[in-house]
């Protein structure tokens, strides 16, 4: 079985960011900010995923950490909190992966 790469975990985090963005968009006054924020962070996650770190096999503890962070983001139902987590999730994920936010 192929090892899970850090890049694959970051791609999953990007999908979680998209879901948070969709929830946060329901705050009409913040539509532009939500989309700008989502773009900024998904760009950063994609940049790290495409770099040398992304090719590395992830240790079990890192897989667990990022999957849990994504699960935590998926539990958010409040759109205001979703906007907050649009910023929080990538910070948690990138630090766990050993990258600067």
């Amino acid at each position: 079985m192929d090892a899970t790469t850090i890049g694959a975990l970051l791609e999953a985090a990007i999908a979680a960011e998209e879901a948070l963005g969709e929830l946060g968009e329901s705050i009409e006054d913040e539509w532009s900010y939500v989309n700008d924020l989502r773009q900024a962070w998904t760009d950063r996650l994609a940049e790290v995923a495409a770099g040398p770190l992304g090719e590395r096999a992830a240790e079990p503890a890192l897989i667990d950490a990022i999957e849990l962070a994504i699960d935590e983001a998926g539990r958010v139902r409040d759109p205001h909190r979703a906007i907050d987590w649009l910023s929080t999730l990538p910070q948690v994920v990138l630090l766990a992966a050993g990258s600067e936010p």
């Binding site: 900010y33 900024a40 240790e59 503890a61 935590e72 910070q91 630090l95 766990a96």
Partner: protein, 226 residues
């Protein structure tokens, strides 16, 4: 230019009780010596959905467990304080989080300035200018170089009103040939703050941003806007 205590109105009385909550002081003290990862842990857990500390420990493998890069006792204390904040309920936790950022800011500033000149909830008065309704969260009141800080939990708290208030104070000080440095302290990533600021048309070129990654700079020499 002169500094003055804010009026003791209803808002001030309610907010003073939140600022006096022992949890605010406990969290701020812990965060004042925290690493970036510990501050992100606090941010996530204070506004998370889960109250199970083990989930949070597993999300931060560099802070907890066999692969931890640091002594886990401080991280454990920070996690405990963050979950205690999260346990307060939606409205109260929001107020407590804001008070923690202010207290943290004041504590870091007090490392480079005498505690007596680091003040909270102060207004800044200028000749012939109506006083702002909202006080500044934290001020450093040194003759010849005052500083005013507005503190935010998240980048979303940055708005036109806040930017105008800070920049107006700076320009009014210049009108009186005084120097007032103004800063935003935001307990959120610089990337998020820059996204928010880039969409603002209110003047902020001379307002310093102190984001989560730069909090320790508050304890160093006062900086020009960046």
């Amino acid at each position: 230019m002169r500094f003055q205590d804010a009026a003791r109105d209803g808002r001030a009385v309610v907010y003073a009780s939140i600022q006096a909550d022992p949890l605010v002081a406990r969290a701020a003290e812990l965060l004042s010596t925290a690493s970036l990862a510990e501050r992100v842990l606090a941010r996530a857990a204070m506004n998370g959905e889960s109250s199970d500390p083990d989930r949070w420990r597993r999300m931060f493998p560099t802070l907890f467990g066999p692969a931890a890069l640091v002594d886990g006792r401080r991280s454990e204390a920070i996690l405990g304080a963050a979950l205690a904040v999260a346990d307060r309920g939606e409205q109260v936790r929001s107020q407590v989080r804001g008070a923690i950022v202010e207290e943290l800011t004041a504590r870091l500033l007090a490392r480079r300035a005498p505690a007596a000149v680091v003040r909270r909830e102060r207004r800044i008065l200028f000749d012939g200018v109506p006083a702002e309704i909202h006080p500044y969260d934290v001020t450093v009141e040194v003759a010849g170089l005052g500083e005013a800080f507005d503190c935010k939990w998240g980048a979303r708290g940055i708005n036109a009103d806040v930017l105008h208030q800070l920049d107006d104070a700076r320009t009014h000080a210049l009108d009186e040939e005084e120097q007032l440095r103004v800063s935003l302290v935001v307990f959120d990533a610089e990337r998020s703050c820059r996204v928010r600021l880039d969409a603002q048309t209110a003047p902020h070129a001379q307002t310093s941003l102190v984001a989560l990654e730069q909090l320790d700079a508050l304890a160093g020499p006062a900086r020009a806007a960046s």
